[in-house]
Subunit: 408 residues, 2 copies
Amino acid sequence: MGSQKIVEQLVKRSEIKGSSKKIVLLVMDGLGDIRHPDNHFRTPLEEAQCPNLRALAPLSALGRIIPVDYGVTPGSGPAHLGLFGYDPREVEIGRGVLEVVGMGMELRAGDVAARANFCTVKGRTVVDRRAGRPATEVTAQKVKLLQQKLGKIDDVTLIMEAGMGHRFGIIFRGPGLTGGVTDTDPHEDNEPIREAKAETDAARKTAEVVNKFQKRALEALGGHEPMNGVLLRGVSERPRIPTIEERFGLKCAAIATYPMYRGLASLVGMTLLKTGPSVAEEFQTYLDSRNDYNFFFIHVKPTDEAGEDGDHARKVQAIEAVDQKLPMLTESKPEVLAITGDHSTPCPMRLHSWHPVPLLLHSPRCGADGRPSFAEHECNVGSLGIFHAMHLLPLMLANAELLDKFGA
Amino acid sequence: MGSQKIVEQLVKRSEIKGSSKKIVLLVMDGLGDIRHPDNHFRTPLEEAQCPNLRALAPLSALGRIIPVDYGVTPGSGPAHLGLFGYDPREVEIGRGVLEVVGMGMELRAGDVAARANFCTVKGRTVVDRRAGRPATEVTAQKVKLLQQKLGKIDDVTLIMEAGMGHRFGIIFRGPGLTGGVTDTDPHEDNEPIREAKAETDAARKTAEVVNKFQKRALEALGGHEPMNGVLLRGVSERPRIPTIEERFGLKCAAIATYPMYRGLASLVGMTLLKTGPSVAEEFQTYLDSRNDYNFFFIHVKPTDEAGEDGDHARKVQAIEAVDQKLPMLTESKPEVLAITGDHSTPCPMRLHSWHPVPLLLHSPRCGADGRPSFAEHECNVGSLGIFHAMHLLPLMLANAELLDKFGA
């Protein structure tokens, strides 16, 4: 019996549902960093002036989490699945699903999603895969047109929404759809639009619908260059996974401003709370809805953006901004507060990376590691060790004293 | 999908083949040790004067690797498979294979190997399983005789080579052979030579050939005591595993002087480079062949020998000898340099052990743990944690920035 099963079995025996205990998972996106000549061998967490974290650290348990696996750099999808207690090596989130979810479109069980873009065709041949890079507003008009003319194909409803530039998202909603359909996008100019092919028997209907859509979209666009064709890729279904509530008995709320993270939270069944863009607004949303949930996922984005820009000073500021408002969380005394990131985005790399992410876990039962601060190198020697992110959720349940004993 | 699969999937998507980046894995055999009253609670790594490692350590990531699993003391075979990125719990290297490979015999795909020794028989009964412990030269003559008279059995070619004392190695090369054949060695004196039995249907032909060899060898030896019989054990096939190049896209060279380690490297498809016995010669071989490969396995033996002899001072010297020549590696600036052992051979134990092995990983992306030296207790608190050896290779690929992101 693996880690996942054992916890699910314990959850079943435990009384988690209806518990008034509060578990807060505060995710600073891309939090982890590396000491490097570029930052004079001090990471943003080491550099930041964080009186509140500094007070909390010695009374907490520290460790580091491996988002997916050793040496594996995760995208945001797998990284968050790990934090939500799923094994990200087992659950695949298709490109189409991530795209529409990242656009804030609501994806339901059984839905199939695709990334789409306008292209220029001559006959069936794609001469420009990006249709001359139209402005976002122009795309929005064309998407509206397609939505009006192609709202339904057979018993399948189509929901489309414009993205940036030439891109848009499509959701196919209807009975008997699955992912596993090849792209119609030839991925190169001067190639014909490909026919979507079912990779499994179950995907045959989806392939049919996709091909009908391809054909009818060409007709609907009426041959007007440069946006006279569409291409689909990453046709994929919403992952068929039990919700976080089904698995862990937790009533979960997501407090995040970016559509991508709201979307990822919705894939595991969290309720998406309305909130504002600042840390203070996010924390206030938590305080306002405290009584309605027992698990809160709070997502803070600026740490990752600074990391991707290679901007050490801004990453320091982003961390300090969270620290400044931290008392809003701690003074509400949640039973468990975990502070971590979904992955590292070291400023010297300007990219997501595989480096384990610092983790602080605070609860009345966490023990007190006595380390002077919350930073990568203090976390190396914490009592939690360096472990796969998917084990964090069970650890939080245990710290809330919500998990029964295993065995007699 | 386990750790192995996920990395293989990432490798397929990544552009590793043809990369000019250099990854160097320097293995000091049996490197790990334990603090003990016998060594006044200082391990050889702690004791050794290593200015070059001392300079490198603070700028590196440290950790410890578990060769096979918790509490599992590995032989050289599984220990090296782990370092080469294979799960040593999944790949079996038979005794016969290890024997012939350790003798430096070339084992090809489809080959079956056995450990053999001369014995004294009366009729079919083994009266001395070691044939009076003949000198190695005598054995060599007898092996030559067998090779002349028994070069072929049906469509199977036999290749024999003398080992130490009464021992020799046999390779069976021909179509339709597999391992899974019981020993003809009764493992006790005054028992009859056993008939080799196929443990699977696939092994029937092998069992037949082994039994024919047993019979014909007795005839060929002409009844002259004490070396008038042979016994076979550990009949096993070359592991059917993809090469390290097939799995990770790396063009690999092995620099090792001992046949055992050259043999193990050849089992995973590494090219064996000619080199001399000293550390300087091994490092020079690396420098000379730098442009032709992107992964280098460099094996240094004396640390293990000193450990097996319980000779703390000699193990210290062996480590210092490596440190002295280390600039030959570091000044060539490989993208990734990992320094570790295949297992621990603590001097106070005079044996291989299960203790995790110190690891130093250096790359422009490794971060800088800031620990003052490379030794067991510094590695305990490094950013890499304590992890199974098979994850080291993916970590090295990540540090070379050769692995794509997982998921979007």
